[in-house]
Symmetry: D2
Subunit: 306 residues, 4 copies
Amino acid sequence: MQTNYQQIIDDITSELETLDNPGRVASYIPELAGVDANKLGVHLMTVGGNRYSWGNSEEKFSIQSVSKVLSLTFALQVMGENLWTRVGVEPSGTAFNSLVQLEYEQGFPRNPLINAGAIVVCDALITQLANPKKDILNFVREISGHKKIDYCPRVFESEKRTGFKNYSLANLCKGFGNLNNDVDTVLDVYFHLCSIEMTCSELAQTFLFLANEGKCPVTEKQVVSSQRARRINSIMQMCGFYDEAGEFAFRVGLPGKSGVGGGIAAVHPGKYSIAVWSPKLNEKGNSYQGIKVLEAVTTRTQSSIF
Amino acid sequence: MQTNYQQIIDDITSELETLDNPGRVASYIPELAGVDANKLGVHLMTVGGNRYSWGNSEEKFSIQSVSKVLSLTFALQVMGENLWTRVGVEPSGTAFNSLVQLEYEQGFPRNPLINAGAIVVCDALITQLANPKKDILNFVREISGHKKIDYCPRVFESEKRTGFKNYSLANLCKGFGNLNNDVDTVLDVYFHLCSIEMTCSELAQTFLFLANEGKCPVTEKQVVSSQRARRINSIMQMCGFYDEAGEFAFRVGLPGKSGVGGGIAAVHPGKYSIAVWSPKLNEKGNSYQGIKVLEAVTTRTQSSIF
Amino acid sequence: MQTNYQQIIDDITSELETLDNPGRVASYIPELAGVDANKLGVHLMTVGGNRYSWGNSEEKFSIQSVSKVLSLTFALQVMGENLWTRVGVEPSGTAFNSLVQLEYEQGFPRNPLINAGAIVVCDALITQLANPKKDILNFVREISGHKKIDYCPRVFESEKRTGFKNYSLANLCKGFGNLNNDVDTVLDVYFHLCSIEMTCSELAQTFLFLANEGKCPVTEKQVVSSQRARRINSIMQMCGFYDEAGEFAFRVGLPGKSGVGGGIAAVHPGKYSIAVWSPKLNEKGNSYQGIKVLEAVTTRTQSSIF
Amino acid sequence: MQTNYQQIIDDITSELETLDNPGRVASYIPELAGVDANKLGVHLMTVGGNRYSWGNSEEKFSIQSVSKVLSLTFALQVMGENLWTRVGVEPSGTAFNSLVQLEYEQGFPRNPLINAGAIVVCDALITQLANPKKDILNFVREISGHKKIDYCPRVFESEKRTGFKNYSLANLCKGFGNLNNDVDTVLDVYFHLCSIEMTCSELAQTFLFLANEGKCPVTEKQVVSSQRARRINSIMQMCGFYDEAGEFAFRVGLPGKSGVGGGIAAVHPGKYSIAVWSPKLNEKGNSYQGIKVLEAVTTRTQSSIF
């Protein structure tokens, strides 16, 4: 039986338009606070190449922490499993633990998808790469098949100016000997990474290799081995939604990653990737409507990875 | 292509026999400390009814915390989604946090597969059931298709006598108003639950409904709906291995649950359930060889849920 | 110059009568919740034997945790400095840490004036004494010079029935091997200790030995050496007011100990002891007006230990 | 009876020379690691002006965190009790909690004598002063009566280069809105403050006003009111020795403050101030021999504030 993804997406987005959205746009990055709160875009792309869109799916937004999956993928490509001497693969528990755990575990971040972990991944990349910012961008362009994907200088500047918590995390890692480069150098790359902009359709295509045993069906490039793709998916499942990871597995049942810009990318291995964008966040910092859309897709298709 | 599970199991168990096992039998429950440390049993059962065994797969062992999946399943059947007003679905983070988190979150356990959560689940069952201990046992016998499965009185007594940490957790929940029955009444049921004994083949068959959209192919009973089966699987994935949950997802990639008796049950939805028993535990409290066997199965079949 | 303590006490209590008292009577011990919230008693006794009273100073109240100084004194008399192998002398920090710290420090309570520490002190006394409850009561009667001081059975029963947090703490200590006797036996003594009743004048006289180099001027008994008296005072200073210890040192500047019954005992070494009773507690669990009275006494006499 | 301080100091220092010193010189500030580990200096000065010295009491050393008492005193002089809207007066508990507590309490440091607290005090001073570094130095010179006291540029540079933990703390406070100036500006002042050098005799004289109701007997200046002197002393008592504060109160019984340079300043209100310097630290980061000397002084004089 052919699943009618377009119908499902049309139905759920129609329903959402009639419902109140109690979420709030992230305010701590000034540049993001100005975005139109009512945007909603969805793009689902199957491993067979079919595409289903809805709403503002061709509009650029700041992917923010969704990019941490890309830096992880690149770091694994560059330095292989040695990366795991620098960062773990365990969920991080409650938000309240962020600095606590990092101090308790002596500067060894619990996973590469929380801020501290992504900062350490950036440090590892800087050590290995000739032109870190350029090389990272080229990697993202290559796996996405979109050569015009770029950093957003205004978002970068805004985060750099206000990212005191990230300076705190980076200095703590540095103090424990888990940063090899200068804090400022590392955060320059990290804030650039966070500032990458994509549309929903670009983001869905970028993540499609993770639904297709490591190979992008569009570019026909084998980005990572099938085993590595499974492992990246497992990390997204366990660690992709901060202290809402269990709830997301319970309700949606797909590996995925969210960002404070309101974007979420998720994959159903063997079937499809999907990107959703809606700026208002729930109290755990994940897109309120984005999760609603994904929950509807897996519930109505009666199909999750579980 | 037919996967040759028997060959894979034979290969990995042969290899394990030649390797050192650095694990240690759990010592804090005196009755468990006396078990033969060198036992190794494996049983894999497909949703189509094929069975593959190795070693001590027909020998009874104490399933301990593996039973927490069964009490969760029963509680969901008895009281439905109301259960989630009493316990969460989030991973618990580090072991060091056990009491910390419970106090910080005011007696609301993070999930039903850690001790505090299973204690609260037992309390919920006691309130609903006429004969809790008998009813739980009957439920387990029914879904397993094995009418002789039973509690082990010696293990029960041993845990009751030495389970001070569990008394501490239960009293903390009680103090926060999240236990409706007496601490002693609740722990009597809880310690009985932990003392259930099964063989690997019984345990694999018991968990098979979770691999088969909620229906046991042997008894042909629909234990839970397919959606509920997926949700129980998601909780096992996120919370089944304490602070090694991320590592287990990364290396094995299946939903599962371990016990300090050295048993692990895991499922590949749509494909099979598998039970492994080897008493020596790694430093995180999970069966050292049990995880090795499961990692080999999913690596060599190049197939995990991710 | 003779300090006019009576005038100071009269002045401050008159002022307090005209002011709102935002405190609240402790509600978690049902028997204590029924006490008259407006009681206020003060009794100051100098080492020279002068006495100054005000209000309900001859009325019995439940001294609760104030008694932890007496169990500590008795334990030091019975087993000497060996006690410090079981419990520390450090302040406990925030309330939120109570179970956290006990678990982090593996069942070794930070000091003998928090619940966990006093439970361990009771355990140590039980091991040494023939009739612990009787012996403790006799000790208190002896150092107070009041033979009719007694436990309150109703308060004891009330605490035993509702003291789940204390059962949690005791079981945690037991699990870490820092209780030698049964949890129920230890808590029976502990809850009795908490239930001791005194008047302000009795309580001031009981603590006078700590202001007089270890010797009670009334009974002329040397209760402890002068060095030990100084050390007990130092522990009261650092640990006597939970996470308000710093504030109490800052505002009042005397070693002292509070109880949830609304009583406070404090001493000015070389000068006087003082007992205050007012049942309404501030948000840190210490008597709101009790602290006001003590702050006025040391501010208006321009004299604290600092 | 005249106390023979000189005899007591001579006796204890003679004894210490025959005993092993298991302490270790602080190694995390490179410039401090090079100091001669065997230095031992003592200087006691009575409020009446008598002076008692021993050993290397006229040699300069880095007073490090002892200076936090001076920045606190200056801030109270400059902005009064408003300071307490920015920082608390409670002991900080275990070292492991440093960042934990600061995050849990949302950037409000527990007291002005831990790093985070002193950083906030420096921020408050910078906002109020025209030339912060110069003004602070002038204040220290004035209350000490020694016009040549100065910062040490090499120690300053060394701390600035390696003080990642302090950058982490400062950024966390900044992120919570509890720093008004730039992190770099604040830490520039903070690291200068830490780098102040004094001899034991200078340090004892500097602290003498705290033993003399706020007035320095040498310069005859009233530095602070007698009440404020008592309050500063209470904060030193509760918070001056990190997680060894209880032990120091128990063994020594004087308000004081230690630094990682191996210095300790302490006062006996109404009697004397004392400064000790010995670079080897115990495992809590306080001078091993320094504490021994102070314990001997209060034990042999049978006199502490308690």
